[in-house]
Symmetry: C2
Subunit: 309 residues, 2 copies
Amino acid sequence: MSFDRLIEGIRRTKNPTVAGLDPKLDFIPAHIKEEAFAKYGAALEGAAEALFVFNKELIDALCDIVPAVKPQAAYYEMYGWQGVRTLARTIEYAKSKGMFVITDGKRNDIGTTMEAYAKAHLGCVEVEGTATEPFGADALTVNAYLGTDGVKPVLNVCKDKDKGLFVLVKTSNPSSGELQDRKLDDDMTIYRTMGNMCEKWGEELMGEYGYSGVGAVVGATYPEQLGELRKALPHTFFLVPGYGAQGGGAKDVAPAFDENGLGAIINSSRGIMCAWKKEEGLDPKDHAQAARREAIRMRDEITALIPIK
Amino acid sequence: MSFDRLIEGIRRTKNPTVAGLDPKLDFIPAHIKEEAFAKYGAALEGAAEALFVFNKELIDALCDIVPAVKPQAAYYEMYGWQGVRTLARTIEYAKSKGMFVITDGKRNDIGTTMEAYAKAHLGCVEVEGTATEPFGADALTVNAYLGTDGVKPVLNVCKDKDKGLFVLVKTSNPSSGELQDRKLDDDMTIYRTMGNMCEKWGEELMGEYGYSGVGAVVGATYPEQLGELRKALPHTFFLVPGYGAQGGGAKDVAPAFDENGLGAIINSSRGIMCAWKKEEGLDPKDHAQAARREAIRMRDEITALIPIK
């Protein structure tokens, strides 16, 4: 019903970051792929197995120091239903290790259909009177171009199941301004208008730390807007992509935080997953230790600037 | 690279409609579910099998008179990865019967990630040098809140593979106006601005009938905007949801068409899938014949008003 569980994880680990799990085959060390292909064939089934083994090793190496993971649905769908099964297995494994799981799916649709997405990713579906969790993430990213009735079904599931959602407000990509920075006839930008809607939608889902269960995605690549939105949206927790590979650094993400060092979680995907490729002479079998070192470096870089109180 | 294949299907069948395949368990006759649960258990696996059998029977009953199907991704994700496997099987089966398949996923993300979605749903992914089609649809619905670089990777795959995309412009839901009807500082609505972007993105993907491979989703529930957009976007093919269960009728969708009766395809999901529930005394085993009768009724209602030339 709020992001309290996520905030508690951030406080426990003293780490306001999330590891993005966007596992393309190119990112995975050869020995993992070879073993998976030998067992399951060099096609979608084997690829999906390699993705899972890679994710599992990353989760094992990160779960005591990073509070959350963010699997990006696209990279699983790219390997067919077999890849989507790996998404389900990854979520289950990360949760078993105590991590908060944000499925980055940017889902959106009209009310009845959005209800199906909400059940799929955050809630339960009933089959013959028995409820099952199809994917069971803790939070889902959502695109709210369709307005309130495309968001409401997710709010309902979040209330029932103590889950959260992050609405796209100001995305990290170069052309995000094409639409999002345009001003409406009341002189307010679209991203700010969307941010205000997050504050409104969150009113029913307030948590103990002053943040609701309706968060916002705001890119590290736009630090000025991060600061503007932090001030304007005091109850909206931020998921901040764009750190690392996309160009944002600790200084860029600093405006996302409140005076207690809370209010935001910073994502790094390639930076962590591909850290092993940057350490010269590293045995690829130790890829997850390189990921851990990068996660610690990132945590220390950010918390040196913005300590968590 | 355009919607020529879809338009040829519409001309061949003289039917500008698409059957939405949004198969909730509630929509499926008991005998199909019972058999699937007996074989695969009354959980996600059995549910996913029931979905597939239901879809297959619908496709068999419709494929000679309806040119296209539109599976809605949410209803498959709701039944876990097993449901997503049914999506893949459904797409494959519909294509084997000569139907054009539009995956309604409303996908959206930054460039690199959108490339993964484009490969997943429309293109191919390489595993050890061998290319596989993970889902292999003919077109994908896309939400363009992120701007051009969230659309470009889909355009690229569409060019390579002769596929198409439909961008959300003016959606059919009650609150679509909250954001989409807002006016920008140049006095143009957001939906119209998005529509203009579709015309621009489509320039590189023009087809023989004057329509590009970049279509637009415009709801039947807003006939005035349908007419406005039809005039303003002469090269943009429309996918029109909201007919039937959502309240739109033949008169409401008429403005979507050009003077040749082309330029749009009208979707009906529940109207067709659940037709069997409305025919009194019908044996549920004949559900697909009821769907066929409803598809013919819908076709005749629309083409009586708007003949295809």
